[in-house]
Symmetry: C2
Subunit: 101 residues, 2 copies
DNA sequence: GAGACAGTTCGACAGTTATCGAACAGTGTG
DNA sequence: CACACTGTTCGATAACTGTCGAACTGTCTC
């Protein structure tokens, strides 16, 4: 499996981050990733088809929200929290807190 | 001109707010509205066709971001900051601060 | 090597969205 | 009343998006 590209956080426009977070499935993924780092894709929303999830992973990766590293046949997903906090201070925390229902 | 509907802020999902903010034109409108309340639509982005802007106003209204009140033949636009802050604490401030380039 | 497993890519489809000109509805002014 | 002005509504169109099955790539295990 070829290496997936992660954008430099400084190249990510704010609107891309907001768009990535504006989908309920992706927001759910981000919330789970915020709780537990280094989770494989299979740990998320197993009732959703893999191809659909893979699409969302890509959107999240491209928006700089998630970093995926290969580990055997899995990919471990981690929220790029520190980088995001540095570029968009308070944004992620506010979204996560607001998403707590 | 008939009265425009503004949703109760508690009925607005977080994803709707994020989606409304994820468009560059709408984000620009919100930023301007954050600086000056009670601005007529004509004060915003005059180079964009009126019908396009009206569409964006509607999205912003439906997402609970902007309140429009009729004043003569104009509509004055005001960011629903206090309500948004109560429902999504810190979100708007983080977005506005991040949008400062 | 065969097969199970994790995740991506491809192609197709339906639904949504942004854009814009033209027509329209209220409102103020002469 | 006629006209200018502000903003909405109505198509129409092109582009984008979410969803999903099928095929594929790479990895691990037996």
């Amino acid at each position: 499996m070829r290496q997936l590209k992660h954008p430099d956080i400084d190249d990510v426009p704010l609107t891309a981050v907001l768009h990535a977070l504006s989908d309920p499935v992706r927001l759910a993924i981000v919330r789970m990733a915020a709780r537990q780092p280094d989770q494989p894709c299979s740990a998320f929303l197993s009732q959703i088809p893999k191809s659909t999830l893979s699409h969302h992973w890509r959107v999240l990766r491209d928006a700089g929200l998630i970093r995926q590293v290969s580990a055997g046949r899995e990919k471990l997903n981690t929220l790029r929290k520190d980088e995001l906090d540095a570029r968009f201070p308070g944004l992620l925390d506010a979204v996560l807190a607001s998403a707590e229902h």
